[in-house]
């Protein structure tokens, strides 16, 4: 029986190296993802009842566009024509003119539902987490607008620079299988 030639040429070496590298990468990715979603582990989140909407979420996240976004709990919202989370306090008119909106990037979309109700939706791609809407809604509205760390954006690096800068201790660790702290109607 002829002995099989075990010599590996350069092309095969490169091919096998790439294959091995891919396997290692996939394994690492799988481990990373499973680590992020494993129950029992924790993630950073904002306690909406402690948040004072100071604006640090906009400026202290390591991401260029903060992982923190405004969220809307529709069950709590009053659907008002005048919305203190949407309108400037001195708005000249209750409409969608930029000069009358509180949000600097137009991330809150206002839509007429039926008289006298208006719906307010968040366009997360535009939200910069400045918290202006949250402040207005908490002070004069029902508090249905508040900030949350969006885990599809957060790096979960465990060295959260916003948490370090949070003046009210609102950043807290939550179980990764319950990653959001949403307000409830009973607590409104």
């Amino acid at each position: 029986m002829a002995e099989k030639n075990e010599n590996v040429n350069r092309r095969q070496l490169l091919k096998k190296s790439c294959f091995g590298g891919c396997l290692v990468g996939l394994g690492g990715l799988a481990g990373f993802l499973s680590g992020r979603s494993r129950a029992g582990d924790t993630l950073w989140q904002i306690d909406p009842y402690k948040c004072i909407a100071c604006g640090n979420c906009e400026t202290h996240c390591v991401l260029e566009n903060s992982a923190v976004k405004c969220v809307q709990v529709y069950e709590l919202c009053g659907y008002c024509d005048y919305c203190p989370g949407f309108h400037e306090p001195t708005a000249l008119a209750l409409d969608t003119g930029a000069e009358n909106e509180l949000c600097p990037t137009g991330a809150i979309k206002r839509k007429f539902v039926s008289e006298p109700y208006f719906q307010y939706d968040i366009d997360e791609a535009l939200c910069i987490a400045c918290g202006k809407c949250v402040k207005g809604c908490a002070a004069f509205g029902n508090g249905s607008l508040f900030l949350q760390v969006r885990h599809d954006r957060c790096l979960n690096c465990n060295e959260c620079s916003i948490a370090a800068a949070c003046p009210s201790g609102a950043f807290t660790r939550v179980p990764s299988d319950k990653p959001y702290l949403l307000k409830k109607v009973d607590n409104a």
Binding site: C80, Y82, T90, A98, E115, A139
Partner: protein
């Protein structure tokens, strides 16, 4: 080589010029999404414009019986428009452990409308969800049983509650303002219909945000109303429904939640109204005689005027606000008369950090102003605008109502906790506290009569026994 060295800078310069031309020539805004009015799809129709001008109502009698208790609280803020009960009734200085006795309670449609009390009867404007109707109800002060109701159909959707205004009652007439600005006059004893105005249809009134809370007033047989539409204010003969006088509204002030308060100064009686918004608005004093404007003050422009102006002595008026505009919390106007002309000038203007009131009307008592600031603290303010004391963040009352009787403040928080506080400029002294309701938003203005305190939350009303016997 020399040629190449020479052509490179020229080429770079040409490319630069072309790039600059293309950059400047391009429309830098073409990818921007302009934020313009109208993107919300708001229809152009006027709210309430589809309501009929005159709505046929119906009086229905029930088996309630009025009592012979003499106490009166015949309108918003009581007999003297000041939120103070001056009845000589012995009131309990402290309550039993379980709080004041609940003498009766009734279910109501959603809202914040408080009660008026006269001749052993309790009057409220309610909303009948089953019949889609405003219902002016007369109840017995003894047990809360209904004596009669006058209701008229009008579709009202929830908008942070529905009915909000306290009726005005005399021994002959009752005038009530419905959430969508229907002003109705009925016989206060029998509930028989006298007249109605649909302010939206007849005077182009714009319904305020969350429906109107303007409480009517009746003086000398005339209902004084501020439509703040085609006319700013008007007096209506309660018997006939004829308009006695109208005040023009050339500046287009819109209706607010604030209620009219009468005052006398310089031998003239006038009605004070805070109208308009942060763009066109202010305060006006309208002659009770003919509706002419005696004085006007335009520097008190706020988006949401809710509290009633507070008369302070013979020549001052205290105004408060605070919803969304923190820079305008309160101001004190002093009236002077020069050559027969009344002039109003501000003595101070404070932001809400010093004092402001979002929806309840402060009380002038014993030389001081008492009221709840937007941060929820009960505050005692002297007449120079200095805070004498505040109840601290450990004692907050949200947006609840308050009234004073026999030197004590009865003050409610948002969820039915009633607190008794000493009405003194010396400091915050809490006398007693009890949970009297379990409901949501106990914001309806209080009424105190014959040793009874009537309070309400979003869905119910209770009558508490607060006498000392």
């Amino acid at each position: 080589m020399k040629f190449i060295a020479g052509i490179i800078p020229v080429a770079i310069a040409i490319v630069g010029v072309i790039s600059m031309y293309m950059w400047l020539g391009g429309d830098a805004l073409e990818e921007c999404d302009p934020r313009l009015p109208g993107a919300d799809g708001r229809p152009k129709s006027v709210v309430g414009a589809d309501e009929p001008i005159k709505i046929a109502g119906q009086t229905v009698k029930s088996d309630g019986i009025p009592t012979d208790l003499p106490g009166t609280w015949p309108r918003f803020r009581g007999p003297d428009f000041d939120g103070i009960s001056k009845e000589q009734v012995d009131l309990a200085a402290a309550w039993p452990e379980q709080g004041p006795d609940v003498l009766w309670s009734i279910e109501l449609g959603e809202g914040y409308a408080g009660a008026a009390v006269l001749a052993g009867r309790v009057y409220i404007i309610d909303y009948d969800h089953e019949k889609n109707a405003d219902a002016i109800r007369c109840l017995s002060l003894a047990d809360g049983k209904e004596i009669w109701r006058y209701s008229y159909p009008v579709k009202v959707k929830r908008w942070h509650g529905m009915s909000r205004a306290v009726p005005a009652v005399t021994d002959k007439y009752l005038v009530a303002m419905g959430p969508k600005c229907h002003v109705t006059c009925v016989d206060s004893m029998t509930g028989e219909f006298h007249w109605m105005f649909n302010l939206v249809r007849e005077f182009n009134t714009k319904i305020p945000q969350w429906y109107t809370a303007q409480c009517p007033l009746i003086e000398n047989g005339k209902a004084i109303i501020a439509p703040a539409g085609d006319v700013l204010m008007m007096a209506v003969d309660c018997e006939t429904g004829e308009i006695a006088w109208k005040t023009p509204n050339p500046k287009g002030w819109v209706m607010t939640h604030s209620s009219i308060v009468p005052m006398e100064f310089g031998g003239k009686r006038f009605y004070i109204y805070c109208g308009g918004d942060q763009i066109a608005g202010g305060v006006v004093g309208v002659s009770a005689e003919d509706g002419s404007v005696l004085w006007e003050y335009e520097d008190w422009k706020v988006r949401f005027n809710v509290p009633m102006p507070v008369i302070v002595g013979s020549d001052r008026i205290f105004f408060s606000a605070g919803y969304s505009q923190t820079e305008k919390g309160c101001t004190m106007l002093r009236l002077t008369e020069t050559e027969g002309r009344i002039v109003a000038q501000s003595e101070f203007l404070h932001g809400t950090d010093v004092f402001g009131s979002i929806q309840q009307s402060p009380i002038f008592y014993d030389g001081h102003i008492f009221g709840v600031r937007p941060d929820g603290q009960l505050v005692c303010l002297d007449l120079k605008g200095e805070v004498a004391w505040a109840s601290t963040s450990a004692n907050t009352f949200g947006s609840g109502p308050y009234a004073i009787a026999q030197g004590r403040i009865y003050i409610m928080d948002d969820s039915g906790m009633l607190t008794l506080v000493q009405a003194s400029s010396a400091g915050y002294v809490q006398i007693d506290q009890a949970r009297v309701m379990d409901g949501h938003e106990t914001w309806g203005p209080m009424a105190i009569a014959s040793g009874r305190l009537i309070v309400r939350d979003m869905h119910s009303m209770v009558c508490l026994g607060i006498s000392g016997q």
